[in-house]
């Protein structure tokens, strides 16, 4: 720990000795972080498998896949996928990806592992609560998997679960799949609320001496703001989920109006409104988009600065942009409902507020390119993913300018253009943030490097692959191809507009890109045991506190000696300095810039 100039002694906790207390019911934030990441890796491969089924059904609706007939005798009799099966796979793909991948790994995984270390804390503020968050998340994941196994199978109402389709079995299908879906989501909300509280308190209370808010790494800023979003959003979804469960099972009518007739049968409900669900769902759902993407933005800023050997361009503007995106994220949920019969007055307000989010997003893009500008770029794999993130963020963000205007949304609402938009920005860009974070922090977490060679091949295949998948979906939106159609044969204008050829191209691209992900999985598993050993504390010559401790870090991170922080998070290439980085715990007066920190 030669980098640390001065430290504060703190109370140390004994290291757990048994396997169970160390690796299963661990209260160590680092182990919990790894548990979240492993859960996300399992979930992402399930979610990807589901998307493959969706793609196959779209292109070959009549084709028989023998293995499916054996696995799903009802959903795919004789191996031919039914339209219900398609919708079930699509619903579960969205749910698994949004909740179990995009909300777990970036925040619960990397945030858990690195937030305490980056702020100089021995652990989270509430370690037991942290353990409870993870295991509740795990239960939620199990409940979601149960939905596949119950009679009637997984729900078909989409990840947004709009009632009455999600509320009335008669309109969808008999069975408890939708109930298990709701139970899973409710558990997930509880887990996320606990986690959010922990992150907020930890950030506010446990920062090392000298680590002011304006010296925080941008990763910490994004985890902190994400936690605030989670705290305010998940409670609302939890309430909505409980109401839907009551509507389904106890005869209440929160979301079901009177006089509905399904299959010639009068529905015995009255007095509710399906619009209420949409408001509650999207009041959560829009902040959720930022819960998924903000940590990726933080990692991108962090990695770009480190490997461009430059301080973050406009650090303060970046912080304000994160806060603005988080704040505005709560007042734009109505743009998901432009076509629900909303008054054009309300829609106009939601539209203007939505466009406002484009402004901090533009600032961030400008500053990322500004960070690269004048740099001395090192093309490590984490850097490649971070540069890929910027491109994907721009592409996925700009389609939001179309969808945020009701007039243009008239055309694009519920088409593949929307699918392209949210996959690029909240799906793929966020995943590139995770790729970048995992390859960047892997040597710190496991004391070994991931293979650069495999990492590069994976980057090229995936970067080009995701553009080949989601780029053409914009063109499908022009035809216009409505989303959630089990096949392209039901409506004449699809085939006439050229939808079949594009869908075919996308499915082939998806198959190649999905295959490439096994390269990443292999790289991850192989490097855990056989990767090049990392003996240094700071192999990337980075500046933040996690690089001032051994790789992997000892049980309570700083061995009871919390370093004092003297400077901002990104002091790279300071004029007159001996070397091109100065760690936050480095007190060397010679390398102080005039305006560092404040």
């Amino acid at each position: 720990m030669t980098e640390v100039a001065e430290y504060v002694e703190v109370h140390r906790h004994p290291e757990p000795t048994s396997f169970i207390s160390k690796w299963i019911f661990s209260i160590d934030h680092k182990v919990i972080g790894i548990q979240y990441i492993l859960l996300a890796i399992v979930a992402v491969f399930i979610g990807m498998g589901l998307s493959l089924l969706v793609r196959l059904r779209l292109v070959w609706p009549e084709k028989s896949f023998a293995i499916l007939g054996d696995l799903f005798p009802i959903g795919a009799p004789d191996g031919v996928m039914t339209p219900e099966f398609y919708l079930a796979m699509l619903t579960m793909h969205g749910t698994v990806m949004v909740f179990m991948v995009l909300t777990t790994a970036p925040q619960g995984g990397f945030g858990n592992y690195f937030l305490p270390i980056q702020i100089g804390a021995a652990d989270m503020a509430f370690p037991r609560l942290n353990m409870l968050s993870f295991w509740t998340t795990f239960l939620s994941f199990c409940a979601l998997m149960v939905a596949f196994l119950v009679e009637g199978g997984a729900p078909i109402s989409g990840w947004t679960a709009y009632p009455p389709l999600s509320a009335l079995n008669a309109a969808a299908m008999e069975g408890t799949g939708q109930d298990w879906w709701i139970i899973s989501i409710a558990l997930f909300c509880i887990a996320s609320l606990l986690g959010a509280l922990n992150f907020i308190v930890t950030t506010l209370e446990l920062r090392a001496k000298g680590l002011t808010m304006m010296r925080l790494p941008l990763t910490v800023w994004t985890w902190f703001v994400t936690a605030i979003l989670g705290l305010l959003a998940f409670g609302v979804l939890l309430a909505a989920g409980i109401l839907l469960l009551l509507d389904r099972n106890l005869g209440t009518s929160f979301f079901i109006p009177g006089g509905l007739v399904v299959n010639d049968q009068l529905v015995n409900h009255s007095g509710g409104s399906p619009i209420l669900w949409q408001h509650l769902f999207w009041f959560f759902g829009h902040p959720e988009v930022y819960i998924a993407i903000l940590p990726g933005m933080g990692v991108t800023s962090h990695v770009l600065a480190t490997f461009a050997r430059k301080t973050v361009f406009g650090y303060k503007a970046m912080v304000y942009a994160i806060l603005a995106i988080g704040g505005l994220g709560f007042v734009v949920w109505g743009h998901h409902m432009f076509m629900s019969g909303m008054s054009p007055y309300s829609a106009f307000v939601f539209s203007v507020l939505t466009m406002c989010i484009g402004v901090p997003s533009a600032i961030k893009t400008f500053n990322w390119i500004g960070t690269l500008w004048g740099g001395k770029i090192r093309f490590t794999t984490p850097m490649l993913y971070a540069i890929g993130f910027v491109s994907l963020f721009v592409t996925g963000g700009l389609s939001g300018i179309f969808l945020g205007q009701p007039t243009v949304d008239l055309w694009f609402h519920d088409t593949y253009f929307v699918v392209a938009h949210f996959h690029l920005i909240m799906g793929v860009a966020a995943i590139f943030g995770m790729f970048s974070g995992l390859t960047f922090w892997f040597p710190k977490m496991f004391g070994r490097f991931m293979s650069e060679g495999l990492g590069r091949i994976h980057f090229w295949l995936t970067f080009i692959g995701v553009y080949a998948i989601f780029g053409p979906m914009h063109y499908l939106g022009m035809i216009p191809h409505p989303r959630r159609y089990a096949e392209t044969t039901g409506v004449d204008f699809l085939a006439a507009g050229g939808a079949n050829e594009i869908q075919y191209f996308i499915t082939i691209a998806a198959m190649i890109t999905i295959t490439a992900q096994f390269l990443f999985l292999f790289n991850f598993l192989w490097s855990l045991f056989k990767g090049k050993v990392c003996t240094e504390d700071n192999p990337w010559e980075a500046t933040t506190l996690e690089w001032a401790i051994p790789s992997p870090p000892p049980h309570d991170n700083f061995a009871g000696k919390i370093p004092t922080v003297y400077r901002g998070a990104y002091d790279f290439s300071l004029p007159n300095a001996k070397r091109d980085f100065a760690m936050q715990c480095n007190s060397d007066e010679m390398v102080f810039p005039r305006s560092s920190g404040d």
């Binding site: 007739v261 721009v394 700009l398 063109y475």
Partner: protein, 270 residues
């Protein structure tokens, strides 16, 4: 590495842009003034976002290429540039919010038709569209211009009464219920949107109009088609397993053809 990465970024940018510029896959021709106004706003949005998209990718590729090459000495020390930051922020604000202000009335006009006014024969054709899993029911008020009252207890698909129309009541006697919509050209059409069961969405691409049919709520749309033809109606809100094939058609015909079509429908009722 620097050059290849920059090249790939630029090539992706070009490959994504070209089909939009060439309009390889594009919207069908509009058939109303409203649809043409939507297209104008769409074109404007394409220009604004397209320019930003290309500039951002050019700059990203250039930065990667120029500063990814080997260079002597350390990287520049530069904590930011407030003037450029403010300028860029202001430009983004004006562009994005300006777009909203330029386009918002287009949609509002289609929605803000005075919903309460009674349809008077000759002036406006009113069609009530009721969605159900997975068909569309179109109802015309008949010669009296008044819709008959509906009673959910009378609904019976097998008896050919999908809406529960009370034929015994005078207003309901001449109501026409058909699975396909026929409207005259150059006349204002008002569509009243209802649903019997779950959410659906009434969408005709050539009209550039889309509205959910929400259980318990009536939606209204107005348009004035100016081109004879047959246009497909596609459901655009997930409504269940038959969602992908829930469709119907709208025939826009000359006034004389519309009148004789209507007479034919009345004759079936006799």
């Amino acid at each position: 590495m620097a050059f290849i990465l920059a090249l790939v970024i630029w090539l992706i940018c070009i490959a994504l842009t070209i089909p939009f510029v060439l309009k390889t896959w594009w919207m069908p021709d509009p058939i109303t003034d409203h649809a043409r106004a939507v297209d104008a706003q769409m074109a404007l949005t394409f220009v604004v976002t397209g320019v930003i998209f290309v500039i951002a990718h050019l700059a990203l590729g250039y930065a990667v290429m120029k500063f990814g090459r080997k260079r002597s000495g350390p990287a520049d020390y530069n904590t930011g540039n407030e003037r450029w930051e403010v300028l860029w922020t202001a430009a983004a604000t004006v562009l994005f919010i300006g777009l909203t202000f330029m386009g918002y009335t287009v949609w509002a006009e289609a929605r803000f038709a005075d919903a309460q006014s009674q349809p008077s024969a000759g002036e406006r054709v009113v069609v009530e569209v009721t969605a159900q899993q997975f068909v569309w029911n179109m109802r015309y008020a008949g010669a009296d211009g008044k819709f008959g009252s509906l009673n959910v207890n009378l609904i019976d698909d097998s008896l050919g009464n999908p809406l529960g129309l009370d034929r015994g009541q005078p207003d309901g006697k001449d109501d026409v219920i058909v699975p396909r919509m026929t409207v005259p050209i150059n006349k204002e059409i008002e569509v009243i949107l209802r649903t019997k069961d779950v959410l659906h969405n009434f969408f005709i691409p050539e009209l550039r109009l889309k509205l959910d049919t929400v259980p318990g709520i009536e939606g209204r749309l107005r348009f004035k088609p100016d081109k004879v033809g047959t246009y497909e109606i596609a459901c655009s809100e997930l409504c269940g397993l038959g969602h992908y094939k829930m469709r119907s058609f709208m025939d826009v015909v000359e006034q004389a053809d519309y009148d004789s079509w209507l007479q034919e429908q009345y004759s079936f009722l006799q």
